[in-house]
């Protein structure tokens, strides 16, 4: 059933908070905290208000494991580890049947069965 239009923006479409905090996706909570304080010192709210807000918003998303788990749901996921790529094992052995056939065919190349045709006399 379709009803009247709704133009609510999709929530949770912020910048990747890990990128903002210059962190790896696997960073620990401790690393997140450290990165936040370091960046806040670098971009104090008095002089870098906009950047500070961005950093603050990013930190808010990752501040607790619970919040982080929710934030992670709406972030681009990196590709999985590459699968174990198989090494191709070519068959590089000598096959008996080929050798036997070769021995046979080489000799048969020397034989002519036509020469065994007989002259029949009635």
């Amino acid at each position: 059933m379709k009803k009247g239009s709704k133009n609510k923006p999709i929530v949770n479409k912020p910048k990747d908070p890990y990128k903002t905090l210059e962190l790896d996706r696997k960073a620990s909570q401790e690393q997140i905290k450290r990165a936040y304080f370091q960046l806040v010192r670098q971009y104090p709210p008095e002089t870098e208000a906009e950047k500070f807000q961005e950093i603050r918003a990013a930190y808010e998303q990752l501040r607790t494991p619970e919040k982080r788990a929710l934030a992670d749901l709406f972030l681009l996921q990196p590709p999985p580890e590459k699968p174990d790529l198989p090494s191709i094992n070519y068959d590089l052995s000598i096959h008996k049947e080929d050798i036997i056939k070769l021995a046979l065919e080489v000799k048969l190349a020397e034989i002519s069965f036509q020469k065994d045709f007989q002259n029949i006399k009635i």
Binding site: K3, N12, L73, Q77, P86, I88, I99, K107, A109, I120
Partner: protein, 780 residues
């Protein structure tokens, strides 16, 4: 000539055969058969010989059998690679002439060719018994015995043959001794090369094998085998290109062993694996596209396809190319059933606003999640609820409120106490016209959190709409108790009190009711104004004092000040006070002239003293002059249009004329070239005479004049009017879906039309009536 000669000979032969058959002339038949044999016409020769055999006597039978055996032998030789047919012919020949060594020898050779070496040995044995020195017998007999693992004697072989077969013996018996190195090279160097390859898995005698091939003179089958092993040798050196080329040649020379096709398939697969190792994902996809279909179904190929598409999608998404990312991930999704792929796909679909696809991808992600807490793909209850909410948002974008509601309800299963989520469900239920369900949900929220102001506000709003005003009042009071400054609660409660007061016909009771209501909402402008008017009619208290109190409460709220202005006109002896308010209002910065036109309109609609109407219209003209940006001509036009609008259709004509008096003269005097006069004429011609053609001519003239006078706003009005008179009248019924809900509501509430006095309308009603007017103007 030659052709005719042949025809003649054939006819002669047919006639001779027919004659010989009819007369059972055996010598003639045999002669004809022999002639055919010598001419190479083996099948006809066989037929005649068989005819002859049927009536051959004992003394002639041996001769016929000799002939038949020869024919069968030659047929066997002619049967080329059809070994089964060859064996049949040879067995026929042997049955007719068992002593012929050549027949057994040829049968033995053929048995070797089909790989039946055991039977071949027996046939070679027969040959050896009869003719031990039969040409090539020793070599082939020994070879067959070797294959059958029988004891062999190399002494009767030439040194060349012995060397070859010794190598063969070593290879087929898996002997890896150095004897091979001591064996002198045969005339075929490839034996030595192959022996080396057998002995040492690293040996790669490409050159030696190539040399043998370069010599030429080999059978096709021999070339096929040698090319294959040249490819093997090249591959042992890691030369994939050379190997591939040699193996392709082997295939073209009829080498059709499984190990060749397996190795060729491996070559193709390895190209993909190599590209994947180097993370050249597009190359991987291209290479897979070129694979034969049987290889595309290999697990590794399917896995790599999905993986490469995942990477391509990720890289595109990282560059902001979400369309490409979505396309790649959709392809990857056919094979990769991971939770995280659905997650990325959902994000990409959202980015390109494919909301339904996005919602489905979110749902798919939930299906794919692991239920084991230790898994990376495990989602806790909050996460599951968040995803359901997200899917709901996507459906809402698609305006599919039903699916959105389903998703929200699913989310609720994982977050029962999530008030925000429940409020969102309420909002969606209301958007879906499910007021009763929304009310139930609000009651559930309030059971969890009785002080939730948002839920209380929504519930009170719903009760108001359902006209359960007493219940609504109680809820609004609760809101105000929790949040005394809540503007919505104050305005709504005020509106309900005003409406309820209007239902009380006994003015004294109404007065008491309003006084009581003001205790709930002290200084409420609406209630004070209502009380002032009631006091005025009762000649009780101090109406002017109440108006002044309302004016003070309105403060700088311009909307409220204008309400005080209008309501004051309903009270006697307030002219001075109204003039005072007008003075304050005129000082308001950027006040549009339209404000005074609206005030004037309300005076007429409320059937108040029309002198105020003229006063407000005059004020509008002054305001336009004061503002400078506004055109006097436009204001004068607006006055005319207001007086002739639908809202005024029930107002007596003499009242309209009385008000209008003087404004037409002002137009003639103050802005005669503005086009307004022509506009007014067009309006009259259209509405009074229904003369569309003349109206169009006049409105065009009005526009021309307005353009010359640079009266932009008048020009705009002419366009609007022309469009209005030119549009085809809508006929037939409406599709109910086209009618806004607010319009339906107001039509149901006031089936005989809304009250003329705007004060009798709530703010919501006023807004909805405006929408209704717009709707009718647009559609009729």
């Amino acid at each position: 000539m030659a052709k005719n000669k042949l025809k003649f000979q054939h006819a002669k032969m047919v006639s001779a055969v027919a004659k010989a058959k009819s007369q059972k002339d055996l010598p003639s038949l045999l002669n004809e058969s022999l002639k055919l044999l010598q001419a190479g016409n083996l099948n006809l020769a066989l037929n005649l010989a068989l005819e002859a055999f049927a009536f051959a006597e004992k003394d002639t039978q041996e001769k016929v059998e000799e002939l038949l055996a020869e024919i069968y032998f030659r047929l066997a030789v002619a049967s080329a690679t059809d070994f089964s047919l060859r064996i049949t012919h040879l067995k026929e020949a042997i049955s007719l002439s068992p002593t012929q060594t050549r027949l057994h020898f040829f049968l033995a050779v053929t048995l070797c060719q089909i790989g039946n070496f055991a039977e071949a040995v027996l046939e070679f044995d027969k040959v050896a018994t009869k003719e031990p020195n039969y040409s090539n017998l020793q070599y082939l007999h020994t070879l067959a015995k070797l294959v059958c693992n029988q004891k062999v004697d190399f002494s009767n072989l030439t040194s060349e043959e012995a060397s070859t077969l010794k190598i063969v013996e070593n290879i087929i018996s898996d002997k890896t001794n150095n004897i091979l190195i001591d064996i002198q090279p045969t005339k075929h160097e490839f034996w030595q090369a192959l022996a080396q390859m057998q002995q040492d898995m690293m040996a790669s005698p490409v050159l030696a094998l190539q040399k043998s091939l370069d010599k030429g003179g080999n059978k096709k089958s021999v070339i096929g085998i040698l090319e294959y092993y040249k490819g093997v040798a090249a591959m042992r050196q890691g030369e994939k290109g050379a190997a591939q080329s040699a193996w392709q040649k082997a295939k073209s020379f009829g080498f059709a062993q499984n190990h060749l096709s397996t190795n060729l398939d491996y070559l193709l697969t390895e190209q993909i694996v190599d590209a994947a190792k180097e993370e050249k994902w597009q190359q991987v996809i291209t290479a897979i596209g070129n694979l034969p279909s049987k290889l595309k179904t290999l697990d590794i190929v399917k896995e790599l396809t999905a993986f490469a598409e995942y990477y391509i999608g990720h890289s595109a998404a990282s560059e902001g190319n979400w369309k490409r990312a979505a396309e790649a991930w959709r392809r990857s999704n056919e094979q990769d059933k991971s939770c995280r792929l659905s997650q990325n796909l959902a994000l990409a679909e959202e980015a390109i606003e494919n909301w339904e696809n996005a919602a489905e991808a979110w749902r798919e992600m939930l299906k794919r999640r692991s239920r084991k807490e230790t898994s990376d793909n495990y989602l806790n209850d909050s996460q599951v609820a968040a995803i359901w909410k997200r899917a709901a948002e996507c459906y809402e974008k698609e305006e599919d409120t039903e699916e959105a509601l389903t998703c929200l309800k699913n989310a609720l299963k994982y977050a029962e106490n999530d008030i925000d989520l429940r409020l969102e469900i309420v909002e969606t239920l209301m958007a879906n016209d499910q007021e009763k369900a929304a009310q139930n949900e609000l009651n559930r929220i309030l059971a969890i959190d009785p002080k939730n102001v948002t839920a209380l506000e929504s519930l009170a709003g719903l009760l108001t709409v359902s006209e359960k005003t007493d219940e609504a009042i109680e809820i609004w009071r609760k809101v105000l108790a929790l949040d005394p400054d809540n503007k919505i609660a104050r305005e709504s409660l005020s509106s309900i009190y005003v409406e309820k007061s209007e239902e009380i016909t006994d003015k004294k009771k109404r007065f008491s009711f309003l006084e009581k209501a003001l205790k709930d909402l002290p200084n409420d402008v609406g209630l004070l104004l209502k009380l002032a008017i009631t006091a005025d009619t009762l000649k009780k208290g101090n109406p002017l004092g109440l108006l002044k109190q309302a004016y003070q409460s309105a403060g700088k709220d311009f909307k409220m000040v204008s309400l005080v202005l209008h309501e004051s006109l309903h009270v006697k002896d307030t002219n001075e006070f109204v003039e005072e308010i007008m003075l304050v209002i005129t000082q308001q910065a950027n006040l549009p002239a339209e404000f005074w036109i609206v005030q004037a309109k309300m005076v007429v609609l409320c059937e108040l003293n029309v002198s105020w109407t003229r006063k407000f219209f005059d004020q509008a003209i002054d305001q336009a002059e004061k503002n400078k940006k506004e055109s006097k001509a436009k204001v004068l036009l607006n006055i005319f249009l207001t007086l002739h609008s639908r809202e005024f259709q029930d107002v007596k004509e003499e009242v309209i004329e009385k008000i209008e008096e003087g404004y037409i003269d002002r137009i003639k005097k103050e802005c005669p070239q503005s086009g307004v006069l022509e506009f007014i004429e067009a309006h009259r011609v259209f509405h009074n005479r229904k003369d569309i053609k003349s109206a169009k001519t006049l409105i065009k003239e009005a526009r021309r004049k307005a353009q010359l006078a640079n009266e932009k706003e008048v020009v705009e009005e002419t366009h609007e009017f022309e469009n209005f008179i030119s549009r085809p009248k809508r006929r037939g019924l409406f599709d109910m879906d086209d009618i806004p809900l607010s319009v339906i509501r107001i039509m149901e509430k006031y089936p005989n039309g809304p009250p003329k006095d705007p004060r009798k309308l709530s703010a919501q009603d006023r807004e909805d009536i405006e929408k209704l007017m717009e709707f009718f103007q647009e559609n009729f």
